[in-house]
Amino acid sequence: MDQQVTRNREANQVWQQQIVCYACEHCAYAAADLAGTLRMQYPPSIKIVQLPCSGKLDVLMVLHAFEQGADGVMVAG
């Protein structure tokens, strides 16, 4: 895991934290789309995973994200 993160940093030169965002498809995901339509800028290190409802979020999903190298998890809905 550590090795992975280090490689990550090297690749990016300037280290950027990896954020996984779990977004409700009806509101937060739609809001992210709106940001796109309006061309509002944010760091590319945020990855959005669509959920049918933020209630769908499972603790395991959060842990899994960290396990796979995420630095932060954001739930939006």
């Binding site: 992975q4 490689r7 990550n8 690749a11 990016n12 950027q16 990896q18 996984v20 409700c24 498809e25 009806h26 509101c27 995901y29 739609a30 992210a32 789309d33 709106l34 940001a35 796109g36 339509t37 309006l38 061309r39 509002m40 800028q41 944010y42 760091p43 590319p44 290190s45 990855k47 959005i48 995973v49 669509q50 959920l51 049918p52 409802c53 209630g55 769908k56 979020l57 499972d58 603790v59 395991l60 999903m61 899994h64 994200a65 796979q68 190298g69 995420a70 809905g77």
Partner: protein, 1077 residues
């Protein structure tokens, strides 16, 4: 018999030539709601809007009272089009648009001929100059356009180009050109458009439609405050109209939701709201009904956004918070947010010319004249009839009332003076969103009743409505049989869309010199796709969403026998349906396609970091390829909808609902607890408007009892109720004359709850013989007029509630009081009638009765909860003495009274609690039934297939109950009309019974109360528990909450299985490594 036979073919021929379509004029929230209900009932709808996009006023509002949410998450395409928020409403979203609705924007009605059931309408469409079908929203036209104009969507606060998009999420989702003479010599937009969608020489189009009925949803016009010069609107920069403030406070507004002063762009530290601008005055006498609430909302937004230290003062006449949860909202504004309310009408605004601060002079609670400076003043402008009212009334041949609104009758609130033309929303009187929604569905029910022989002429493919073409063909669609892909290894085809060069280009080349588009590296993406497992075909398409692109995908599926498809380009939110339809037409299940949202969630938002954005794009593509490999086909289950309805409650609402459903051709079981139909209407003898409600009662009862499709059960209660939408079971118990109970079993498709309300009768004051309720007074006025004419002193007390009843406005009492007070004054002008009130809530045109009561000499005395009136017996013992605290004199006043009528709270009907438990429905804080959503779904429950009508929802006037009952009937009819093609299920949660330990976590966490632990078909749970959780796919709403909570991980949500989310989406992160290649 012979004669009948010869007539039949003739009749059928007639039916087929008569139009099964409806014209809805006005594309605001009312028109949109009515269109959806009509379309769901199998009628074709032509939705006409005179501006370039749908949405109307609501699209300009950032927040709705009282919940401050925009409620965009409340509906999903599969679940009843619950959300009618314009820009994101699933029923209107591009590519997912309802197949039975045709939208005509920029269009005016110029002529209407014919009669109810068969109108010919002539229309004129002004040119848009942009072809919405080819516009890809790149925005280049707007960038190059040199002409700047005031932005009307932003209330003129900012400027926009002549080539523009009305709002970021406009429907239709396309740009429009506001053509000016300058455009003749410019034409830059035409040159730059990558899809050649612009034609500056487009001509207006004249066309005609044959429709069976017309619904008017014209909305309203806000009052122009510059008509009152003293207020300084237009002269002083910091005096704003309420709509301007709404735009400033909206996230999509010019300041992204930060309220600033136009004069110096600083946030104001004090704001005043002036109420009743253009309402309740000499010229415009009616009340605009919504301003008290929206001003409170705006003040709360100021506190929430700008900080609690902002001083907010609302200058108000009466607090008119007359709907569900609104009283609580006012209390919260006062107590939690510290918003000040001052009872005063400010007539003039002065400005300090240096600071542009505004000075208001007013009388405070102590009666002192105070001069206070505010940094901003918001004028709570009222509602007037729409600008097009007079012209359209002429074209349509309908009458307008004295105020310029559409004329309607109390007993038929949705019918205009021309048969076959119906009205909804603020065009008939000032109304808020929830009333508009009720009216809209109600008007749809009126149309369904009128066109009952034509329902289902355009049936939906109800399994997946989005699979249907939008061309409105009568026959529906013929899709090829679905290919069975089970057990096959994935053969994935990846289609990379360049969005006409806007999204992605070949690395290092710059297409046509566009600078603003994101330039993702196509080469890299192609390599990632080719090297990913299961991918057998990779192709770059210019625009996947254009017919040319769709054909490529379909060719791939058939020629290369692909069984999975990934399309990288647009958002799945807007384009899922399009590509699902595309793959299904080639025989693939619609859930075997995956979209990669490169445009809105990668390319456009990381312009400054192209390197990392490229890697993110590759990452997203890999995730999608992994996810689609794990995807499984999803099907819905076909059900037979029982073609009948159960209506609980035989009052005006129940009878109205029953008639609307029965007239449309479905059987109704109408259940009434008492021994006769009528409910509260039995005791209503006259109304303020002067109509005779007993005539309505007789008419309704006669029609209900004579109707061959309505089965009336009086002295009957529902004692058992189970099942789901389309198939409910109920047991009725009828009280027999001999005291026994007769049980009846029913099967029905939908249930309507119309159990009504009742006037409270418990209060210590009622023990005095001189104290009665307003209801009793009404009966005495009718039955003992001589006695009433002899009265000398009458003191009426408003807002009396029994102990333990929450404080809410019962809505109808003030108007009832006016009605009775006026009648007493008519009987005996010498009688001294005093009304003690907290707020007079005579909203809408009812304000006129308040004015009439004052003109006739009725005295109004305001009291507050700090010093409520007190009652005692005079020493003589004959008369009562009412003590009331005079707020201006600051002392107690004694009023003698021969009679003291009380306006008691209106409570939900007895047994509401028990019924709610039986039907598994929630109740609101006031004890009434709680609807699915307070603003947008007032006649639905979260439990589908059950609807709400009338006073069971909240106290209502007769006309409001009628509208609500019709609305519930319309919603019920959309389900009943699906007949044998009711599809339920789809993306739902499934329990693996071999993993379930029966811990009941899912039953507790489900927001809809659907999971049950049961034993059947061998579902015994872990270790033969004797039962496992079961989630009925017909009921599940697909939120997935249970799957997240299940400790045994026994529940999976289809299309979001762990396999799809955990292994691929998240594991993908592990590959966040140097770019491939």
């Amino acid at each position: 018999m012979v004669a009948n036979l010869s007539k039949e073919p003739l009749l059928r021929e007639n039916l087929e030539t008569r139009p099964a379509s409806v014209l809805v004029i006005g594309g605001g929230i009312g028109g949109m709601r009515a269109s959806l209900d009509l379309a769901d009932a199998g009628l074709k709808v032509h939705l006409v809007e005179h501006t370039p996009c749908l949405g109307g006023r609501v699209s300009q509002l950032g927040f709705m009272f009282p919940q401050h949410d925009c409620v965009l998450c409340r509906g999903t395409p599969d679940h009843g089009y619950g959300c009618t928020r314009p820009s994101i409403s699933p029923g209107y979203i591009s590519n997912n648009q309802h197949p039975n609705i045709e939208i005509h924007t920029n269009t005016h009605v110029i002529d209407v001929e014919g009669q109810a059931g068969d109108f010919t309408v002539s229309l004129r469409t002004e040119p848009r100059y942009v072809d919405p079908a080819r516009c890809i929203n790149c925005g280049y036209c707007s960038q190059v356009c040199p002409l700047e104009l005031p932005d009307t969507y932003q209330q003129g606060i900012t400027f926009r180009k002549a080539a523009y998009k009305v709002a970021a999420r406009a429907v239709p989702d396309a740009y429009v050109i506001d053509r000016h003479p300058e455009c003749d010599t410019c034409g830059k937009c035409v040159e730059v458009c990558p899809t050649r969608a612009i034609d500056l020489y487009q001509k207006p189009r004249l066309f005609s439609l044959n429709v069976g009925a017309i619904i008017l949803a014209l909305g309203f016009k806000t009052y122009d405050p510059s008509e009152i010069g003293e207020l300084g609107f237009g002269r002083y920069p910091n005096v704003l109209s309420a709509m301007q403030y709404e735009r400033l406070a909206s996230r999509s507004g010019p300041t992204e939701g930060i309220v600033i002063r136009p004069s110096d762009h600083q946030t104001p530290r004090s704001i005043a709201w002036l109420q009743c601008i253009g309402s309740r005055d000499q010229k415009i006498t009616y009340c605009s009904s919504i301003c008290c609430m929206y001003a409170t909302k705006e003040a709360m937004l100021a506190k929430q956004r700008l900080g609690n230290e902002v001083a907010c003062r609302v200058f108000i006449m009466d607090e008119r918070a007359f709907n569900k949860e609104y009283s609580t909202y006012f209390a919260k504004a006062r107590q939690k947010h510290g918003i000040q309310y001052t009872r005063c009408r400010v007539s003039a605004v002065q400005e300090d010319p240096r600071s542009h601060n505004l000075i208001l002079k007013y009388q405070d609670a102590e009666g002192q004249t105070v001069k206070e400076t505010f940094e901003m003043v918001v004028l709570a402008t009222g509602l007037g009839p729409p600008a097009s009212a007079v012209e359209l009334a002429g074209v349509l041949g309908i009458e307008l009332n004295n105020y310029g609104f559409c004329k309607t009758e109390k007993f038929s609130p949705l019918q205009t003076s021309r048969p076959g033309v119906f009205v909804c929303g603020a065009f008939s009187s000032p109304k808020e969103i929830v009333e508009t929604i009720i009216d809209a569905s109600g008007a749809a029910a009126e149309v369904m009743r009128l066109l009952n022989d034509r329902l289902n002429t355009y049936p939906l493919t109800r399994e997946w409505p989005f699979l249907m073409h939008m061309n409105g063909e009568k026959t529906g669609v013929s899709l090829p049989p679905e290919r069975n892909v089970e057990g096959q290894p994935p053969r994935t085809g990846v289609y990379l869309c360049t969005c006409m060069g806007e999204l992605a280009g070949w690395h290092g080349t710059d297409q046509e010199g566009h600078t603003s588009g994101s330039q993702l590296d196509l080469q890299g993406l192609v390599q990632v796709a080719r090297s990913s497992p299961g991918v057998v075909h990779t192709e770059v398409v210019e625009a996947a969403c254009f017919p040319e692109g769709l054909i490529r995908i379909q060719a791939g599926i058939s020629e290369l026998s692909l069984n999975r498809v990934v399309v990288a380009g647009c958002s799945n939110r807007t384009h899922d349906s399009l590509f699902q339809r595309c793959v299904r037409q080639s025989g693939l299940n619609p859930y075997l396609v995956e979209l990669v949202n490169l445009r809105d969630q990668c390319g456009r938002v990381h312009l400054a970091q192209p390197e990392i954005a490229n890697r993110k794009a590759q990452e997203m593509l890999r995730i999608a390829i992994g996810r689609v490999a794990a995807a499984k086909p999803i099907h819905k289950q076909k059900h037979h909808c029982r073609p009948n309805a159960l209506v609980i409650g035989g009052g005006v609402s129940g009878m109205t609902s029953a008639l609307a459903i029965a007239d449309s051709g479905y059987d109704v079981y109408l259940v009434e607890r008492s021994n006769m139909l009528g409910g509260n209407l039995l005791k209503l003898h006259y109304v303020a408007e002067g109509y005779n409600p007993q005539l309505l009662l007789r008419d309704l009862v006669n029609r209900v009892t004579a109707h061959q499709r309505i089965h009336v059960y009086t002295r009957t209660e529902v004692i058992r109720h189970s099942g789901h939408l389309g198939f409910f079971r109920a047991e009725l118990a009828t009280q027999q004359p001999d005291g026994s109970r007769l049980l009846t079993q029913l099967e029905h498709g939908v249930t309507i709850v119309a159990t009504g309300g009742r006037e409270a009768k418990q209060h210590p004051w009622l023990e005095y013989p001189q104290v009665i309720t307003q209801h009793t007074l009404e009966e005495m006025i009718i039955y003992q007029p001589e006695k009433m004419a002899a009265l000398k002193n009458v003191v009426m007390i408003q807002c009396v509630r029994p102990e333990g009843v929450p404080d809410y406005c019962s809505r109808v009492c003030c108007t009832n009081t006016m009605k009775n007070a006026i009648r007493l004054k008519l009987y005996n002008p010498g009688c001294r009638v005093t009304v003690l009130y907290r707020n007079i809530v005579t909203y809408g045109f009812r304000e006129d009765y308040y004015a009439e009561a004052r003109r006739r000499g009725v005295i109004f005395f305001r009291y507050t909860d700090d010093a409520p009136p007190q009652l005692s017996l005079e020493p003589s013992g004959k008369r009562l003495l009412v003590k009331v605290y005079d707020l201006s004199l600051k002392q107690w006043v004694h009023l003698p009274a021969d009679l003291v009528p009380l306006s008691m709270s209106i409570l939900p009907a007895d047994g509401t609690q028990e019924l709610a438990e039986m039907l598994r429905l929630p109740l609101s804080s006031e004890g009434f039934f709680k609807e699915a959503q307070i603003k947008l779904r007032p006649m639905d429950f979260t439990r589908e297939g059950i609807f709400l009508a009338g006073m069971a929802h909240y106290p209502k006037f007769l006309e409001e109950s009628t509208s609500h009952a019709l609305a519930a009937a319309a919603r019920a009819l959309t389900i009943l009309s699906s007949r044998d093609t009711l599809y339920l299920g789809g993306v739902v949660a499934q329990v693996d019974p071999t993993k379930c330990v029966g811990c009941l976590t899912c039953t507790r966490t489900c927001p809809f109360g659907i999971p049950k632990v049961v034993e059947f078909e061998g579902r015994r749970g872990v270790g033969n528990l004797g039962g496992a959780a079961y989630i009925d796919p017909a009921e599940c709403q697909g939120c997935g909450t249970c799957t997240g909570e299940c400790p045994a991980n026994a529940i999976q949500l289809l299309n979001y299985t762990d396999e799809q989310i955990m292994l691929h989406s998240i594991k993908g992160l592990g590959h966040w490594l140097p770019a491939a290649g």
